[in-house]
Symmetry: C2
Subunit: 376 residues, 2 copies
C-alpha cells in the first residue's frame, strides 16, 4: 500500500432526515442506516483502510462528536480525529486536515470523502480510487467522482463533462464543464437526456501540492489561516481561526473555479442515502417489495414497506402498504412513504411536547374518568 | 372498617391475549393495561383496601409470580401472598386462602375477586360490596355480582335470575336460576332480549362459614385436603395436596350446584378487558375515536386506533384507520383491529423465530449484496 495515500473523512454532518433514529445528537454517520451491522462512518473507514494505511486516515468532526468517533473506531491516534469548534462548511474542514497531513508527509496524495454515503461494489470502488490516485500522483489535477444518474434527483449536484475522454487511455476521465447544485426536476431531466451529466458523489482526489495551490489561488484567506494549524495549536487559536473564517464549500470555493478539475465515472454504485425514501430505493427488497433494513420483521399481507427498528427488536406488521415503520429505543414512527415530508413536523411536535413535559415540575397523574352508572 | 371483612384476590392467571405487552412470564394482572399508572393487580388491591383492612387481603398466585406480587404491593405479610405449586382452577385456590383466613378469623366475611378486571365507579363499587357483605354476614347465602349486559359477548358467563327480588328491601338482589358459560352468539342475544340475564363478574361474597359448608357439601375432597393447610404446611405437603387435587372452577363446583346462590346487580361499570378490542371498547376515545391508553401518542389523520406503548415512549402515527399499535420494550405490533384473532399466530411465529435464533451458535453476519456494475 502506497505510504503517500491519505484519506480525509468529513464526519461533521448533523442532518436529521432519518428521524426518529437520527437526531442532532446522533447524526446519520454514527448510525447503522443500512442495517449492515456497522455505522456509516465505520463502513467508510473500513472501505478506505484497504486503500490507505490506517494511520493515514484523518476524520474531521464537530467537537460534540469527537468522543463518538473514538467510540466507533478504536485505537485512532490523536491527530487522526480533528474537532472543529464551529461549523464552517467543507473548505475550512479540508484545509485543516490538509495542514495536519502536510506536517506528516508533504508528498501526500489525498482522497476527501463524506462519511455517510453508501457504496456498493468495494472492488470497483478500490479500482477507481487507485486509478485516481495514480493519476493525481503524476498530474496536477483534481479528480471528482461522478455517478451515472438513474433518475432526475433534485437533491444531488450534477457535473457536466466534456464528451471526449481527457486522456487517451483513461476513457472514464473527462474534463468538467459545469457544476449545478440541486437543479429543478425539469432541468435534471434535461441533464440526464443529454448524457453529459453525472451526479457528484462528493469524493475528491488530489495530491497535497495541488490542494495547497488551489486553496492559495481560490481561497487565499483560508489557506493563510488554516495551513498554519498543527496538532499543537492552542484551543483558543483554533477557536478564533474558525470563528473568523468564511463558511464555504469546497465545491463552490474551488471546484467551480479551478480549471484543472476532472470527473471520473464511478465503476461502483453509490447513494448518499439522504432520506427514508432514498434508503428504500437503495436497500434490498423481499418478494412484496418490503425493505427490511434493520430489526426482526414479521410482515403479513404487507408490501412496499420500509422497516428500520433496532436490530434486536421484533416488529410485527399486518396489512400495511407503502409505509415507513421506524423506531429507536424511545420513539416509534408509522408514516406512509409518500408523506415523508411530514416527518420534519412530527419531529418538531415531539420535541415541543418533550420540552413541555420536562418543564412541568410534577407529572400530572393520568386520571381515568369515572363512569357513573347514573350517566349511562 | 369491619375487622371481619376479608378479600381473596386470585392472581394466578397466565393469559397472553394482550401480546406483545402480555406474555406468560408477565401476565395481564401485573401490567398497566388501562394506562392508569397502576397494574391491574395494584388497582384491584387499592379498590379493596377501602373495603377490608389491608392485612385482611390475601393474594393467591402461582409460584412463579409470588415475587412479582411482592414487588408490586409492598409490605405484605407472609400469609398475604399464597403461592400455588400447580394450577388447579379456582376452587382449590379459594379453599387454600379460606383455610389461611380461618386460622386468623373464623368469623371472616369474604369477597373473592379476580385480579385483572376493570371497575369504573369506585363509589358504586364500594356501596355494592358493603351491601353484599352486610347481607352475607346475616344470611347463609352466596352472592355473586352480575352486570347488566350491553352486547351479546360470547366470552362471558351469563347468570339467569328470578324476576322477583329475593328480599323486600333489596331490589338489586335476585335468586340465581341458571349459569351459562360462554354461550354461542345467538343464545347470548336471546338471553339479553329476555332481560333475565346478567354477565357474571366473577366476584363472590360469602361468609367463611357459608363457604366452608358449601365446600363440604359440593367439593368434599377439596374441603378435606385444603382446609387443613396452614402457613406452616411444609412445601412438600402443599405440593402433593395440589398435585392430587382435582382441577375445578368454583363456578362449576359450587355456584352451579348450591341452592343458596343470589346475584346482585352491579351499580358500577365492569369489563374483564380480555382482549385488545375489549380494551378499545372500554377506554376513553379522542375526537377521532382513537383510544390512546398508554404512551405519548402523536396521531395525524388517524382514527379508530388503539395505542398502547410503554408510558415513556413516543409513537407517531400518520394515516392509520382502525388499527392496534402496541409495543413493549422489545416488540412492536401493528395490526388492524378487526384482525386481532391473528395475534396468537404472530406471537407463536415470533417465539419460534426467537428460539431458532437462540439455537444458532453464531449469528450469521448480514450481507449486503454487492451490486456489480456489469449487472446493471
Amino acid at each position: 500500500m502506497n505510504e503517500n495515500n491519505y484519506c480525509i473523512i468529513m464526519a461533521g454532518g448533523y442532518g436529521s432526515r432519518f428521524w426518529p433514529i437520527c437526531k442532532s445528537n446522533n447524526p446519520k454517520q454514527f448510525l447503522d442506516i443500512l442495517g449492515t451491522g456497522q455505522s456509516m462512518l465505520q463502513s467508510t473507514f473500513s472501505r478506505f483502510e484497504r486503500i490507505c494505511p490506517r494511520e493515514n486516515i484523518i476524520i474531521v468532526t464537530g467537537e460534540l462528536y469527537a468522543d463518538r468517533v473514538r467510540e466507533q473506531i478504536k485505537g485512532l491516534k490523536c491527530y487522526q480525529v480533528l474537532s472543529e469548534p464551529t461549523r464552517r462548511n467543507t473548505a475550512p474542514c479540508i484545509a485543516y486536515a490538509a495542514s495536519i497531513i502536510y506536517a506528516r508527509n508533504p508528498k501526500a496524495n489525498i482522497i476527501v470523502t463524506p462519511s455517510d454515503h453508501a457504496i456498493f461494489g468495494q472492488d470497483y470502488f478500490e479500482q477507481d480510487m487507485e486509478q485516481a490516485l495514480a493519476l493525481t500522483e503524476k498530474n496536477d489535477i483534481i479528480i471528482t467522482i461522478g455517478v451515472r444518474p438513474t433518475n432526475p434527483n433534485t437533491k444531488y449536484g450534477y457535473i457536466q463533462f466534456a464528451e471526449e475522454p481527457a486522456l487517451p487511455k483513461t476513457e472514464n476521465l473527462h474534463k468538467v464543464v459545469t457544476f449545478t447544485e440541486k437543479p429543478p426536476v425539469e432541468m435534471a431531466r434535461q441533464f440526464i437526456s443529454t448524457g453529459e451529466f453525472f451526479w457528484n458523489a462528493g469524493i475528491f482526489v488530489w495530491r497535497l501540492s495541488t490542494l495547497r495551490k488551489a486553496y492559495r489561488t481560490y481561497l487565499p484567506n483560508i489557506a493563510k489561516n488554516f495551513f498554519t494549524l498543527t496538532t499543537e495549536t492552542p484551543a483558543a487559536d483554533l477557536d478564533s481561526t474558525y470563528a473568523l473564517s468564511e463558511a464555504i464549500s469546497v465545491d463552490f470555493g474551488i471546484m467551480e473555479q479551478a480549471d484543472n478539475v476532472y470527473v471520473m465515472e464511478a465503476g461502483f454504485e453509490w447513494s448518499d442515502v439522504e432520506s427514508w425514501s432514498s434508503l428504500y430505493n437503495t436497500c434490498e427488497h423481499d418478494d412484496l417489495n418490503n425493505g427490511i433494513v434493520s430489526g426482526h420483521a414479521f410482515t403479513y399481507d404487507t408490501k412496499n414497506t420500509l422497516v428500520h427498528v433496532p436490530a434486536n427488536k421484533n416488529v410485527i406488521i399486518q396489512g400495511l402498504d407503502n409505509y415507513i415503520v421506524a423506531a429507536d429505543d424511545n420513539t416509534i414512527l408509522i408514516c406512509p412513504r409518500d408523506r415523508e415530508e411530514l416527518i420534519v413536523k412530527f419531529a418538531s411536535d415531539v420535541e415541543l411536547a418533550e420540552l413541555t413535559r420536562s418543564l412541568k415540575p410534577y407529572k400530572q397523574p393520568k386520571v381515568t374518568t369515572i363512569h357513573k352508572k347514573s350517566d349511562l
